[in-house]
Every structure is written in C-alpha cells, then in structure tokens.
C-alpha cells in the first residue's frame, strides 16, 4: 500500500520533472519549427513552383531543376567558381594553420605575444577587411604588388583581372588562417610526451617524429577543419558581393559570382524565389554529400585515440 503510494508520488514527480524539461527546451523547439523546419518544408515545396513572393505560385514540377542544370550557364559558372575557391583555399588554409601552430608550439619567452599576433587577423572579418584588401591589392596604390616587385615579380591585376579575382580572395583568406591555428595548438599540446620519447629511442628524427607521431595524433582536428572548411567555403557569399569590380557583385565577368551570390541575386534582384530555393536545396544536398564523403574517408586516415568508434 505504502509502496504504491510512494511510487505513484515518484512517478508524478518524474512527470513534473519531464514537463519542466519541455518548458526549458521550448524556446528552441518553437524556434526550430518556425525558423528551420517550417522554412525547410516550405522551400522544398516552393522549389517546384514559379513562386515570385507577390503573385504567382504555380506547380511547375522539375522545371526549376531542369533550368538549373540545362539552361542556366551562370549556375555552372557559379558552381565552378565556388569549387575553385574551396579546392584551393581549404588545403592552403589547413596547411597554413597547421604550419603556424607547429611554429608556435614551443615554450619560449614571448610566445604568447606571437600567438596573439598570429591569431589577430582571423578575428577581423566583414566589409572593413574586404575594403582593406581591395586597397592592398589595387594595382596602382596597392602594397601587395609593390612587395612583389621587390622580388622581381610583376604582380597581376588581382581584382580587376577575371583570372585572378578568386586568387585575390583566397590570399585574403590565408591571411586569416591563424583562426585554425588555435585548434591545432590545443591538439598538438595534447599529444603525450611519452610517444615522442619512445620515437626518439627508436632513433626517429624531427621530421619522422612529426610524420609518424604528431600527424596521426592530430588527424581528428585536421579532419574537423577540412569538413567545416569545405562546408563554410561552399557558402562563400559576402566576398563576391562586396569585392566585385566597380561595386558590381560578382564582377568582373562573373568571376566572383559564387553559388550563394547567384542564388541571392536570383532571389532578391529578380525575385525568382522558386528557382533560388531549388538552388538552395541543391546546395543542401552538396553539403550533405560532402559531409558523408568526409565521414567515410575519415575511417581510413583519422586516428582516434582509444581505438575504434
């Protein structure tokens, strides 16, 4: 008798507890439904219509997707531009961040100051940085070409030459590679010292120690940086919008027309919302596939301490 009373009291307590749990989670649940799940479903449906936000919303089947793949050269152009940016900038930024971390992973006087200096550029972003680099890269008044001329290189026209605009953006991104450095530093410092001592006993030199001890131990972080770098890289937008020649987004010759910029202009300049949302879903698919590929590949080369997962 007493036991049932106690347990029913316990279960009502648990119910109250659970109820409170939902109250605490509710802001996120409501936000998820309103700002993520709802919009996702709506945009999936709208991607099969000719929606233009004001008047029409007719079902047109696969037509947006057909236009995208078969009748919109700018779609392919923007995809190629984005791929170029991702393929060049992600490895360079990853390597750059790792290099900075390896250099800074020492206990010497003043190291904190150097870490601060190396990290500083990465906290700066937005239009201020873009304008700064537009000046640095300007062929007439720019510092970059001046410095190149000191070593006998005749610098390119950067943001005015369609063949060089993306490299200009990539150069700017490498300046901020120190942002990745911190993660590498943390993981470099977590490599157990015994491993190095064991390797030294086996007669390994500096390079071999790095290759056979350090690198395997920090692969999880490298992996993380590559995945997030690629996903982030695919979403590049502002640089193409702001740094376009003559204040013209994507210019010159659409060489800075990145995928999201094309989508943005479709949605907010010509109000072809249905088409833009089809593009958005295709982007979602790309990011999903990238993540899955990365996860699959990681099994072959990411070393997780503590064995299989």
């Amino acid at each position: 008798m007493a036991r049932t009373a106690a347990s029913s009291q316990g279960s009502s307590l648990r119910r109250r507890e659970a109820w409170q749990g939902y109250v605490f989670a509710s802001p996120w649940i409501v936000g998820f439904l309103l700002f993520t799940a709802g919009p996702l479903l709506f945009s999936l449906y709208a991607s099969f219509t000719n929606y233009d936000i004001t008047s029409r919303m007719d079902w047109i089947g696969m037509q947006n997707y057909d236009t995208m793949f078969n009748h919109d050269p700018l779609f392919w152009k923007s995809l190629r531009n984005t791929l170029y940016f991702v393929v060049i900038s992600v490895p360079l930024q990853t390597a750059g961040g790792l290099l900075l971390a390896v250099i800074l992973n020492r206990k010497v006087a003043g190291i904190r100051l150097f870490r601060t200096v190396f990290y500083l550029p990465s906290i700066l972003s937005g239009v201020g940085v873009y304008v700064l680099w537009m000046m640095l890269l300007s062929p007439s008044a720019g510092l970059v070409n001046l410095m190149l001329s000191w070593v006998g290189i005749d610098g390119p026209a950067w943001l005015t030459d369609p063949a060089w605009t993306k490299n200009a953006v990539i150069l700017m991104k490498i300046w901020g590679a120190g942002g990745m450095m911190l993660l590498y530093l943390a993981s470099l410092q977590s490599v157990p010292q015994q491993l190095y001592e064991a390797a030294e006993l086996d007669g390994a030199g500096k390079l071999r120690k790095f290759w056979h001890v350090t690198l395997p131990m920090i692969t999880p972080v490298i992996f993380f940086e590559i995945v997030t770098g690629m996903i982030g890289g695919f979403q590049i937008f502002q640089e193409g919008y702001v740094m376009g020649y003559n204040n013209d987004p994507g210019a010159p010759m659409n060489s800075l027309l990145f995928y999201n910029l094309h989508m943005f202009l479709k949605a907010f300049k010509v109000f072809d919302m249905g088409y833009a949302m089809a593009m958005a879903w295709f982007l979602f698919l790309i990011v999903l596939v990238l993540t899955l590929i990365n996860l699959t590949l990681s099994k072959f080369w990411v070393h997780y301490e503590g064995g299989e997962r």
Partner: protein, 296 residues
C-alpha cells in the same frame, strides 16, 4: 667489443652535447627570426590600413610609397565619420548587438539547462535533431525566412534581426550544455532539497557559476552582430537603420577609390573588434577550446 662500442658512443655523446647546445641556440635564433618575420608580415596589412588612413590621397599615389604619413591627416576620420554617417550606424549596431547578447545569453542558457540537467522523454532525439540543424547551410533557410518575415510585414524593421535570437541557437546551446555538464548534479539536488524550482536553480545557481561560458557566448554574439552583413542587406532598406557593415558598404560605393577615406572608415569599423579582442582574449580563445574539446 660491446664495452668498446659503449665507450665510443659515450665519447661521441660528449662531443655532440655541446654542439647540440650551440645548434639549439641557433635554432632559437632561427625560430625567433621566422616568428618575427611572419608576425610582421601578418601585421603589415593592419599597419598599412592605419598609415593610409592618415595620408593625403596625393601621398598615397606617390612613388615610392611612404611608410609613415609625412603629414598626419586626422581630418580623414572626420570626413569619413560625417560623410559616412558612422555615428548613426554605430548606435544602430550597438543596439542590435546589445539585444543580440541579451537574447542569446537568456535563451541559450535556459535551453541548455534543460538539455543538461533535466530528464525528459525524447531528450536524446531532440538533442540530436538540434545538432543536425548546425549542418544546414544558412542560405537554405534564408529565403523562406525572408518570405515569412515579409508576410509578417517585418521588412525594414529590426524584428527579423532580433526576434530569432530569443529562440536559441543550436551551436551556443551545445556549447553551454557542455559547460553545464561539468557542474555536479549534487548541487542541483541540494538546491531541490532546499525547495528551489528548476527555474530558480537555473537563474540563481547555474548562471553565476557559468560566467566564463556566458562571457564566451556574449562575445561570440557581439562579434556576430557587429559583423552581420547578409541579414541587414536583405531586411533593411532605410539608410537610417543601416548597421556598420552595410554603412561601410554604401560608403565604399560613394567614395570608390578614395583610399584615405575608405581606410578611415575601415579603421572605425574594425578597431572596436580589435580592442574587444585585446581585452577579452581569454574568452575568444575559450570558445575555440570548447569547440576543440568536442571532437576528438
């Protein structure tokens, strides 16, 4: 034989020890040389921005270029500040950042408490859905969100830029939850025995214990609001509502290649972030480390 070999080895070691020291001394010199060279290279753009912002246009175009301005033209800042209307944009940005920090700290600590310290059915599922949403590219929901807000007649108001903050953001909830998990459950139990509700425990116990992570989240949000470009770009049309990013973008449109004014504008927009970084460096780095601790 083996004794001889050992002796030989010891002799070699003796020989090599001082040499190694010398080498490591040179190594240190080399290390500092590399670090200083790289550091200077990375700081050059910022130095050049500052220097250019104080020059006359004539001096900027002169060849060979000067490292420091011959005459310091502080009036460039005055010109940028007035013509660029940066006073207005700074106030707007501070307002947006203030609301952002308040809403994010409030909602994300609240939700994180539920996920960290209360048991309820479906919690695991909800939590993994939340982690999954972090993978969705922001542009996928950007357009339908715009449509939603335009149906609510929220275009050209601050509502689309502020209201969503009160509904939590997955990454920050995750970050705070990781921190809350390190606070012992016994503390919560003790609070309950004293008759405190979860709400009171969240407000009076957890929040004061979580100041480091709150600072991290606050700085992250502030920086995000300060640098927000896409949001104001699509939602704001009136010049009087521009934030600093959009303001600088439009200033850039009017000044084209007047680099001295443009650099003054850039300094105005970037300097507060640099100062924030120097004062609160720990929390910038803390945020990165919490992120680092979550995979591995």
């Amino acid at each position: 034989m083996s004794l001889l070999a050992a002796q030989e080895q010891a002799r070699l070691k003796k020989l090599s020890t001082p040499q190694r020291k010398v080498r490591s001394k040179w190594g240190a010199v080399l290390l500092y040389a590399i670090m200083i060279a790289l550091g200077l290279l990375l700081l050059t753009p910022l130095f050049w921005m500052l220097s250019t912002s104080l020059k006359s246009m004539q001096e900027i175009m002169s060849y060979p270029p000067t490292l420091f301005p011959k005459v310091i033209h502080f009036e460039n800042y005055q010109h940028a500040w007035e013509k660029g209307n940066f006073g207005r944009y700074t106030l707007n940005t501070l307002f947006l950042a203030g609301v952002g920090v308040f809403s994010h700290v409030l909602s994300n600590t609240f939700v994180a408490y539920g996920f960290a310290k209360i048991r309820f059915p479906g919690k695991k599922l909800l939590f993994s859905v939340m982690l999954g949403t972090m993978m969705i590219p922001s542009f996928v929901t950007l357009i339908p969100q715009y449509i939603l807000f335009s149906k609510l007649a929220w275009i050209n108001t601050y509502y689309p830029l502020t209201v969503p903050g009160f509904f939590g953001s997955a990454f920050q909830i995750f970050l705070i939850r990781q921190f809350f998990m390190t606070i012992p459950n016994e503390l919560i139990e003790a609070g309950k025995v004293d008759g405190a509700s979860h709400y009171r425990i969240w407000w009076q116990l957890m929040l004061p214990l979580s100041l480091p992570v709150i600072a991290t989240v606050a700085i992250m949000t502030f920086q995000g609001a300060w640098n927000d470009f896409t949001g104001p770009l699509i939602y704001i049309n009136s010049e009087s509502l521009f934030n600093l990013q959009i303001g600088l973008q439009s200033f850039k449109g009017t000044e084209s290649t007047q680099w001295h004014y443009l650099m003054a504008g850039s300094v105005i927009v970037l300097l507060p972030v640099v100062l924030l970084f120097f004062f609160f460096q720990r929390y910038f780095i803390e945020g990165m480390n919490i992120t680092a601790g979550t995979k591995g």
